[in-house]
């Protein structure tokens, strides 16, 4: 239990998807113009991460890892399918986002109206795929840990995008040098936020 909590806190602050690994940068920069839509995208990312990452974890442990197929037949013990990881993970992610989109559209049209446009985008959000690939590297002990990692990464991503959107809303009123307007100043803002987040990097939990 303690381990799960520490993974959660660590993945929000220390291993923040945006500031430590630059994952999900494209939609992060493109959709952070106002707080409301960025909150919607943040929630959608958490949602999809929490669904896909445990599925990919189970696939990794029970099918892809070396010797993982031994539960079918002892003869499969030497089989190592990990080279299939990329294709399998992305297929799960793309299929799940499509499913989630259809389910949300059917059961909650109001949520669909606010999230709908972002859901297809999420399939190609590097934060989701990155989450699964980091999960593969970190070798979590059980599904609980993998889920808490997914949750934490998602919350960290949402915090980052909402924060940036809030700053950009205020920045509308400032006088930025013409060549830096828009993209350039956003990069610098993210860099400064990243420097601030670096103070968590020594955090021991």
């Amino acid at each position: 239990m303690e381990n799960i909590a520490s993974i959660f806190v660590k993945s929000i602050f220390v291993d923040n998807m945006i500031f430590a690994f630059f994952l999900g940068m494209c939609s992060y920069l493109a959709v952070s113009k106002n707080v409301k839509t960025s909150l919607g995208l943040g929630v959608a990312v958490i949602f999809v991460l929490v669904i896909t990452l445990p599925i990919n974890y189970l696939l990794e442990v029970h099918i892809l890892k070396e010797g993982a197929l031994a539960w079918i037949h002892p003869a499969f013990k030497s089989l190592d399918l990990s080279y299939l990881a990329f294709i399998l993970f992305i297929a799960v992610i793309a299929a799940m986002t499509q499913l989630v989109e259809m389910a949300v559209e059917k059961f909650s049209p109001s949520l669909y109206a606010s999230l709908g446009i972002f859901l297809p985008l999420i399939a190609v959000n590097c934060a989701i795929m990155g989450g699964s690939l980091f999960m593969q590297q970190r070798a979590f002990n059980n599904v609980g840990e993998a889920t808490s990692y997914a949750m934490g990464s998602g919350v960290g991503w949402m915090l980052a995008i909402v924060g940036l959107a809030a700053i950009r809303e205020k920045m509308e009123y400032s006088d930025v040098p013409a060549p830096l307007r828009g993209l350039g100043i956003t990069f610098i803002t993210v860099a400064l936020m990243g420097l601030a987040f670096m103070c968590f990097s020594g955090l021991k939990i």
């Binding site: 630059f22 994952l23 940068m25 860099a191």
Partner: protein
């Protein structure tokens, strides 16, 4: 041959290098651009890998573009890209293991690199294979040169070397010069890209926003 290098093809190739650069103008593929640039070598490898993958996935998608059902096109594109990325990743593991360890998850993340999806959606789905190939090459090079530029500055100032070779002489260090450790930190990559954008847009006034 004259048809192969027509005006349009030339435009398709040269556009992404500057006026329509994937990173500084289209804002695609930022994640990996920032994460792998603390040293020059991984940045070069990443640039080459992405160029190859964009070019070939563009060709493949362009060849089968008329048979892909519209509703599931994203999944089809992702599977083609994922297959190519798997091949590149296995080749890197076999012939350049050190670099592939340094690049870690970012090789796998080429799959979700927005340059790929962006070019497949915007170009390969509606153009012939040869033009798509050229478009892929152009965008790959446009991406690679930004990566190399950022990595050049970061490695030079951050560890005083280029491609692993020391280029700042010892006498400079003796005189009190120090490597700037901050350059190795992730945020500096953002600032350097911002500087490149600044210079680029100061020279091309029509790209400025508002």
């Amino acid at each position: 041959m004259s048809k192969l290098i027509s005006e349009k093809t030339k435009e398709v190739f040269l556009g992404p290098l500057s006026k329509n650069n994937p990173i500084t103008v289209q804002v695609l593929g930022i994640c990996s651009a920032l994460a792998v640039t603390s040293k020059l070598e991984p940045a070069l490898v990443m640039g080459i890998s992405v160029t190859i993958i964009v070019a070939f996935s563009n060709v493949i998608i362009s060849l089968i573009r008329n048979t892909i059902p519209n509703r599931i096109r994203i999944i089809v594109q992702l599977v083609v890209v994922a297959a190519l990325v798997t091949v590149v990743s296995e080749i890197l593991k076999a012939y350049a293991y050190d670099v592939s360890v340094q690049l870690s998850v970012y090789i796998g993340l080429i799959i979700t690199n927005c340059i790929l999806m962006g070019r497949l959606e915007a170009f390969a789905m509606s153009n012939k294979p040869w033009e798509s190939f050229v478009d892929g090459l152009g965008n790959g090079f446009g991406y690679a040169w930004i990566l190399v530029a950022v990595a050049f500055v970061r490695e030079l100032l951050g560890s005083g070397s280029l491609l692993g070779f020391k280029v700042i002489p010892q006498s400079v260090y003796d005189a009190g010069y120090m490597n700037n450790g901050l350059m190795m930190m992730p945020p500096m990559a953002l600032i350097i890209v911002a500087c490149i954008i600044w210079i680029h847009r100061a020279r091309n006034k029509d790209l400025q926003e508002k």
